[in-house]
């Protein structure tokens, strides 16, 4: 962790990884994807995990999101140890506290843009009227008004990623985990998506944690954590 962050008395971590390792087995070979890593992400942060392919960025995101379990160490989200929770409780945390944005958009193909954005709200049991208000507000915010009835295969990559962001933030999560969110979109779209996420971070205080090797993302991040071979190489706060 950078000295500047460590010395900030107001900082409050939303994510804390303590001595986390993740070892995969590929046949007889052991692959150490994350190696004894400790990391804290503060509330309201706009942080990029950078590093070459295979450096362990996505594995870290997956463990923070409760999608993967560390081989060693502990992962805390809002001070709750994910390993101590049941599958159902972790699913509830993902539903209520985390937003996911994937590199390949991963929208549900049988649903329209509106329904994709609405899906998690329905899972939360939000009323239909409230759902409509919130979904339409978010779709307006991400610039998708008029496209709400389109299905994923009727939208461009950039539009799909906007829906994915809408889906991730519509529940007002504590943190958005974005895995290479600009990898499959053109420069203009990437810039506008980053504008949008930056705006949501500043305006609503949503914490963003990206895994990326896109320079545009790194340029905008307040904090850059560089990884190599499953370890943290550097952790810097940008001016």
């Amino acid at each position: 962790m950078s000295q500047a962050l460590a010395n900030d008395p107001k900082r409050e971590d939303i994510v804390r990884l303590v001595d986390v390792s993740k070892i995969y087995r590929q046949g007889k070979i052991e692959v150490r994807a994350v190696d004894n890593l400790s990391l804290e992400i503060d509330t309201g942060d706009f942080c990029a995990l950078c590093g070459p392919s295979g450096s362990g960025k996505t594995t870290v995101l997956n463990m923070i999101g409760g999608l993967d379990i560390p081989t060693h160490g502990q992962v805390f989200l809002e001070r709750r140890d994910l390993a101590s929770l049941s599958r159902g409780e972790v699913a509830a945390i993902r539903r209520d506290r985390i937003g996911f944005v994937f590199q390949a958009y991963n929208l549900i193909p049988v649903m329209t843009a509106y329904e994709n954005a609405e899906f998690v709200l329905k899972l939360q049991g939000v009323s239909a009227v409230e759902c409509h208000t919130r979904v339409m507000t978010i779709l307006k915010e991400v610039g998708l008004v008029g496209l709400e009835h389109r299905r994923p295969d009727e939208m461009s990559g950039g539009q799909q990623q906007r829906v994915a962001i809408a889906r991730a933030i519509v529940t007002r999560p504590a943190i958005v985990l974005a895995d290479e969110p600009t990898a499959n979109v053109d420069s203009a779209t990437a810039d506008s998506l980053l504008d949008l996420m930056q705006k949501l971070n500043r305006q609503d205080g949503i914490t963003f944690l990206f895994s990326t090797h896109d320079k545009r993302v790194m340029d905008r991040a307040r904090r850059i954590v560089r990884m190599r071979d499953g370890r943290i190489e550097s952790d810097e706060v940008q001016g």
Binding site: G65, G88, A91, I108, V110
Partner: protein
């Protein structure tokens, strides 16, 4: 509601595969309906034919008559009893009858056989196989009339024609041998050798007189029900109501144990065959559902990642199985209905295959025209069984979908 909606859309993502699976479920409905319907029709036909030959669907008879039939065993006050029975719920007809063994003779030959004495006013072609099978002459007009109707083969054996005299010899109520003459008034052909070659139909009064019975005595009352499948429950009701230590009330299963046994074995083998077909169809549905789950592993991973619980994912896939099963049932009903209509109205006529031969089981003639008969309860049972099977086939794929760790699912491309 949202899950049902998503499941419905998911089912139609691969329209062709859904239709193929739907048709395989529908084909299961069709096969189950054909096997069950034909068996029920055939069993019903055999039971009714057997009942019409003597004992009815339910029989009122003297204690021990079925086990050791003898002409000294008889019911009294049959007129009153029959009158009461015929007004019972579910009873279509009740007929007093005398059944026994006799020797039939002419000047040239003697043949052993059975006789059935009836009151023609209470009998009808529907409930009396011999009357229904009359091919020559006529049946006596009332119970006091004279005459005898015999099987055509018996007539040939005895070299008899209509109008000729037949001598019949039997034992009376006291065990004495008695003989009488009757003039042949009609001939019947049922197709069953034992009946056509050795059975005679007499007016009730004539036989009562010969046997030394009183006018209100007979060996049994044959009760014909509107629905033969209610024979055992009706028997139980009658036993409660007509509690008489001298009377035994039996269902056709008890008076015709050979036929009942044959039907039980045939039905069991039919169910085994249907079960095997069901397994094959279930394997097909399982395969489809499993393929559909495996190819969406990544999508399920996303759903789990954004907060769907494994339990809800299980129910989402089960909802897809539900829709798949429902589509299959609709297809099944659509493809089965014309088959059922055709089999019900026309049937499949195997007469040409049998030629002049008739086919009998347990001395009961099998109708060469195969039809289908399904009651509401059978339709419900078939649809429920196929629906249940389709749902069961979805359990493993649904379980599998919910068990895959989200990160594994997300790795899948």
């Amino acid at each position: 509601m949202q899950m049902w909606n998503i499941a419905w859309r998911n089912v139609w993502r691969r329209r062709r595969r859904t239709l193929i699976t739907g048709f395989s479920i529908g084909f299961g409905v069709l096969l189950a309906a054909i096997f069950t319907g034909m068996a029920i029709y055939m069993y019903g036909n055999m039971i009714n034919a057997s009942a019409a030959t003597g004992f009815g669907h339910v029989t009122f008879e003297p204690i021990g008559y079925s086990k050791a039939p003898a002409l000294d065993k008889r019911l009294s006050r049959v007129d009153t009893l029959r009158e009461q029975i015929v007004h019972e719920n579910g009873v279509d007809a009740a007929m007093e009858r005398i059944m026994g063994q006799a020797m039939f003779a002419t000047a040239s030959k003697t043949v052993g056989g059975m006789f059935l004495a009836i009151n023609p006013q209470h009998e009808s072609a529907e409930y009396n196989l011999l009357i229904r099978s009359l091919v020559e002459g006529k049946v006596f007009s009332d119970k006091n009339a004279g005459g005898v109707v015999i099987g055509k083969r018996l007539a040939e054996k005895l070299n008899l024609r209509i109008g000729k005299k037949l001598v019949y010899t039997t034992t009376d109520v006291n065990g004495e041998i008695v003989s009488e003459i009757a003039r042949v008034s009609g001939l019947f052909v049922t197709g069953v050798d034992e009946i056509d070659g050795g059975m005679a139909l007499f007016p009730l009064r004539q036989i009562q007189h010969v046997l030394g019975y009183h006018a209100d005595e007979a060996t049994l009352i044959a009760v014909m029900l509107r629905q033969q499948r209610h024979a055992e429950s009706s028997r139980d009701v009658f036993r409660q109501k007509y509690h008489d230590p001298s009377i035994e009330i039996l269902s056709w299963q008890q008076t015709q144990p050979d036929l009942a046994g044959m039907i039980t074995i045939d039905a069991a083998s039919n169910y085994v065959m249907q079960f095997l077909i069901a397994l094959l169809i279930a394997a097909g549905i399982l395969n489809t559902m499993l393929m559909s789950v495996l190819e969406r592993t990544r999508e399920f991973g996303v759903m789990l990642a954004i907060g769907l619980s494994p339990k809800r994912l299980f129910w989402l896939v089960m909802a897809e199985s539900y829709w798949m099963a429902l589509i299959g049932l609709v297809i099944g009903i659509v493809i089965t209905s014309p088959f059922y209509w055709y089999f019900d109205v026309y049937g499949l006529d195997f007469s040409s295959l049998l030629g002049d031969e008739s086919y009998t089981v347990s001395n009961v003639l099998i109708d060469p025209v195969i039809r289908m008969k399904l009651h509401v309860i059978h339709v419900i049972a078939i649809l429920s069984a196929v629906f249940g099977l389709a749902l069961l086939s979805g359990i493993y794929p649904a379980w599998r979908a919910g068990r895959v760790p989200p990160v594994e699912s997300l790795r899948t491309i």
